[in-house]
């Protein structure tokens, strides 16, 4: 009897099995770019891909960011790997004030993806020591575009300024079939894949 020590099943717990949902980070010269954080068997497998390896891609899916309401000034707020959709949105807007929060200096290297971004870190190793939302200059002419961890999005939703929040939830399909990715809203549960992932407040 023989068993190879590694990759004998399909990875950790024989996962991944389901596809994983990602924002497009950037489109350049006919190529799509994505941002991964190595958090589990799915992202680990994707990060192992080599040039020329094949990939199944279904998309684009869901509702992205929309133009600012009433000529408001866009302010982009991102946290961790959640900065990905802000990169393509900053490209689309042709630049905007951008505030990015990270755990530490190593993760904060991602700030180079958006020119002129102001940075906050949890450990104070780079930029402001504290929450990225501390850097927000609140006035009634801005619209916030945000993507990041749930506590950050909840903090932004509480600010009372117009905001577009790109949310995240585990998904099995991405096109409304499985009803697995719901989040609670004032109108009941909504599927983030078809009624999000951007939620307007």
């Amino acid at each position: 009897m023989l068993t190879a020590a590694e990759r004998w099943g399909g990875g950790e717990d024989e996962r991944p099995f389901l596809p994983r949902a990602f924002s497009v980070m950037r489109e350049r010269g006919g190529q799509l770019e994505f941002l991964f954080d190595d958090v589990g068997p799915g992202t680990r497998r994707l990060m192992e891909l080599d040039a020329g390896d094949e990939l199944l891609l279904l998309g684009p899916l869901g509702n992205g960011f929309a133009a600012p309401r009433d000529g408001r000034r866009p302010v982009l707020v991102g946290g961790g790997v959640g900065i990905a959709p802000l990169v393509i949105w900053a490209d689309h807007l042709g630049g905007a004030q951008t505030l990015l929060g990270f755990r530490d200096a190593a993760h904060a290297e991602g700030a180079v993806l958006i020119a002129g971004a102001e940075v906050a870190t949890d450990d104070g190793s780079v930029g402001h020591h504290g929450f990225v939302t501390d850097l927000l200059d609140l006035d009634d002419t801005i619209e916030v575009y945000a993507c990041g961890p749930p506590p950050m999005l909840e903090a932004i939703a509480r600010l009372g300024v117009p905001a577009q929040l790109a949310m995240e939830s585990g998904m099995a399909c991405g096109f409304g079939a499985c009803f697995g990715c719901v989040v609670p809203t004032a109108n009941g549960y909504v599927r983030l894949c078809v009624d999000g992932p951007v939620i307007h407040t």
């Binding site: 020329g52 099995a172 609670p184």
Partner: protein, 302 residues
């Protein structure tokens, strides 16, 4: 054409109830979805008399070779379904099978009766994985309980009645035999197997908002194969076999042990056109399987 309970079908691959939302999918993919619709018949999500929100999230847990879902049958209720969903589902290019569930026999009879006169509906499927609040028994887990249910609903319609058998019982074959004796036109199996996962961050607490959920995907394929064969040995009714079907070979396997039609469920989550691919693959393996239109799959080089 395939004949299924008098309904002509272009091929043998359909969807499992609750695994495809044709209305949402049409919004996402446009009318191209109708032009190469992957299923030979469409089974809609379970409809209940009253609207249901479904279970609190999280609703999904990935497994080795599958997933556990705890969706909780969210739906608009009978009135909402008739008004909002049915007109859109009637535009699909294939026959519509409506799946219904109630917690009393009278409720199920009322649902069946509401669809009996609707021309848009080709057949009804009974979701019997729910307890009868009067007896406390799962309607589809006990032959006597299922017989009572069919006696209450059979007279409500001339349309084909399909019983979706649950694998979470002592003998699905005994229940299938009761279904045949009490007027069912077909049985479908397997429904999901009850399972649970623990929250990695809260020791001892369930991960799923609903506590337990249903296991589906390749992990249950061997169980489906065995239960379809067991049911085929007991009944002569048409059988819709499903459970972990990912390839044409899996569809042919279920057919070999007695399935007339084959349902695709979890695999459609990974690829919305999986059923079309499976039909095409099966057609190359077995002449009983006509081909559907070839699926369009985009492969991107990194």
């Amino acid at each position: 054409m395939i004949d299924f309970c008098g309904i002509p079908l272009a091929h043998r691959i359909i969807n499992g109830s609750g695994t495809f939302d044709a209305i949402a999918a049409r919004r996402v993919f446009g009318d191209a979805l109708l032009e190469q619709f992957p299923f030979a018949a469409f089974v809609s999500k379970t409809v209940t008399l009253e609207p249901r929100q479904g279970n609190p999230p999280p609703r999904l847990w990935e497994l080795p070779g599958g997933l556990i879902n705890s969706i909780g049958l969210p739906n608009k209720g009978l009135a909402g379904y008739l008004q909002e969903d049915l007109p859109q589902l009637a535009e699909l290019p294939v026959p519509l099978i409506v799946n219904v569930m109630g917690s009393r026999r009278e409720e199920v009879a009322q649902l069946v009766s509401a669809f009996a006169e609707r021309e848009e509906v080709a057949a009804l499927e009974l979701n019997v994985s729910c307890p009868n609040v009067k007896t406390g028994l799962i309607m589809g887990a006990d032959p006597g309980e299922l017989a009572g249910l069919l006696d209450a609903v059979r007279q409500q319609t001339d349309k084909p009645l399909i019983v979706k058998l649950t694998p979470n019982c002592a003998s699905p074959a005994d229940v299938a035999a009761a279904a045949e004796d009490h007027g069912a036109d077909a049985v479908s199996l397997i429904n999901t197997l009850r399972g649970m996962a623990l929250d990695p961050h809260r020791p001892g607490e369930p991960w799923l908002g609903g506590g337990t959920g249903g296991v589906s995907g390749p992990a249950v394929r061997a169980i489906a194969l065995s239960q379809v064969r067991e049911v085929r040995e007991r009944v002569s009714l048409p059988i819709i076999g499903m459970g972990g079907v990912q390839t044409g070979r899996h569809a042919v396997d279920l057919s070999t042990v007695g399935a007339d039609l084959v349902g695709v469920g979890t695999e459609s989550f990974r690829d919305p056109l999986a059923a079309a691919r499976i039909a095409a693959e099966a057609s190359t393996l077995n002449e009983a399987f006509p081909a559907n239109a070839a699926p369009a799959v985009a492969v991107v080089r990194t």
